[in-house]
Assembly symmetry: C2
Homo-oligomer: 309 residues x 2
DNA sequence: AAAATTCATAAACAAATGTATATGCATCCT
DNA sequence: AGGATGCATATACATTTGTTTATGAATTTT
């Protein structure tokens, strides 16, 4: 291995300016240095490497052959640094590129709608969503596999920074004065016998609800399928059956007694959603923008609008 | 104009090693530095440019996106420096490339033979010979147009380094006891009537002699053309005619009275040859080799062998 | 021939860069 | 749980880099 050239980046800059101007004085002016500073650096450069790069003949400067070669290299290097600078500076500002997010299984029901809205605002971001279980999220976060993760609980052991961005509470809504309205801790199996109004298959909220019943070994047969949260709400109030709805969506109606919230075992399904990152992890602009986005938007409204909870 | 990236070449080396090893400790070992030295430089690099290049998560290092970009650039720069180093180191040793020599008009008669011998030894040199007059040589030397110049007198005014490498003295040789042997200061016109033995057309020495006569308005008609200095010498001794020969070549014969040297006006033609360069001029290896070559060879013998004076 | 320009050099000093040693702290491994 | 490992930080110091000012030497311009 040959010992490399002994040169500082300042010497590169100075040499380039000197070689281009063929003048120490002009180079010094251009770089905002004193003339002796330039002279000294050039002298050191030559002494350190035991090469003559510059000849002063009469009053004019000439490059030796190694000097010509050196100029080429210096210019290439300065170009490279300039490019690099541009890339970095712009990459620090532009919201673009890959955004790797690990998502805990139940979040997959609503994440697409959030992402859709996010991409609408920042079309140059390429999100990569991985749906994995909680344990693996923690492991892989530790290994810096993701920029962010979305989960329902934040483990305390780990060095995570986390921010809540969404509280979702799914309650069982029944027509006013339903036979179970006054009951406490209604067994989940009791509910299963009711007429169930549900969103169409594939709806996020329907899947969430089905999952919850499935955990208790119950499979719900929908009595009727309706296309939106709003229409289900109306149908419940009309006495067509019961349903599971976001508490937020029926808050006013429940208050006025237009429908009742049943106290069923396993309900409400409370979902507090957090976005988390490793404490030492540096968020690139796209990731930071996503966090900001989560904090700034009204997720209830977004999901209601997309009608997908 | 964007302010350029603030980075030292040491930081480039350190960053590259860190990014490649993904370890400060290993990078430090590789570079023969202490671990804190590496840590500090990386920290300064990031602080100075307000960018995070490296993330330490748990115990492992990861490159951020700017870090990845940085690594690319660092590797390109190090490659460039490595190439540069190679070029310079080899260019410092190899005797090759262009060798620009300015030659005063009369030297053109013998230079080709010297060059031929030089190229025989150093085939990778590409000599560029320019034949110009003395005044222009001085001007253009000052402007660093040539590596070397060949001339007969060295002006004292100028800052030239010069070395004599060849003394040539052309004398008029006549058969022993020639009718003009005792004469002093024989007019050049007197000689013109003699039978002249000469080398074939194109011979360096013939051109040199013809030039000298031409300066006096005399055109010599050769009585006989012979192929070598040696055969002319024999012919002169045999009484066939007179000729102009290097004094060196007939020194012994003249001493023993086998032929006479005539004291003709304008003779001997004395040529002291110097190789010169500007005092501050740096000779590259090929140029230095040429100077050494001139000093080391026996030019009399070389020219005699090529039979061209 | 005098004046202006340009590079070289020196001295004295200020700032930055780079270093080793020692130590702390967190993580990883066993 | 305990030891080993790896990075961060503090301190103190050495070296390098850059500064101004002054001056010298040489060349070019006027």
């Amino acid at each position: 291995m040959t010992p490399n050239l002994h040169i500082t980046s300042q010497q590169i800059r100075i040499f380039e300016a000197v070689a281009r101007n063929l003048s120490y004085t002009k180079a010094a002016e251009e770089l905002g240095l004193s003339q002796p500073a330039v002279s000294i650096q050039m002298k050191r450069l030559e002494e350190n490497n035991d090469v003559k790069f510059i000849e002063v003949i009469g009053k004019k400067l000439y490059l030796t052959r190694p000097g010509e070669r050196m100029l080429k290299s210096c210019q290439r290097i300065l170009d490279e640094l300039h490019d690099l600078n541009g890339h970095i500076k712009s990459a620090q500002q532009k919201i673009e590129g890959e955004l790797k997010i690990a998502v805990v299984t139940p979040a997959k029901y609503f994440m697409p709608y959030i992402l859709k809205a996010f991409l609408n605002r920042y079309p140059d971001v390429r999100p990569a969503i991985t749906v994995i279980n909680r344990r693996r999220i923690l492991d892989e976060l530790k290994q810096n596999q993701y920029d962010l993760s979305i989960m329902g609980r934040v483990p305390e052991e780990l060095k995570l920074d986390s921010f809540p961005f969404f509280q979702n509470e799914l309650v069982v809504a029944a027509p006013a004065k339903h036979r179970l309205s006054k009951e406490k801790r209604i067994p989940i199996s009791e509910i299963a016998t009711e007429r169930f109004l549900m969103r169409e298959k594939g709806s996020g909220i329907r899947m969430s609800v089905e999952d919850r019943f499935a955990e208790n070994g119950i499979i719900i047969e929908p009595y009727m399928e309706l296309g939106s949260t709003e229409s289900i709400k109306q149908a419940v109030m009309a006495g067509l059956g019961i349903s599971v709805l976001p508490k937020q969506a029926i808050r006013i109606e429940a208050k006025h007694g237009h429908l009742d919230i049943l106290d069923v075992e396993g309900f409400p399904v409370i979902r507090d959603w957090y976005v988390a990152k490793m404490k030492d992890k540096n968020l690139h602009p796209a990731a930071q923008a996503f966090v900001d986005f989560l904090n700034s938007i009204d997720i209830e409204r977004l999901l209601a609008m997309s009608d997908t909870r």
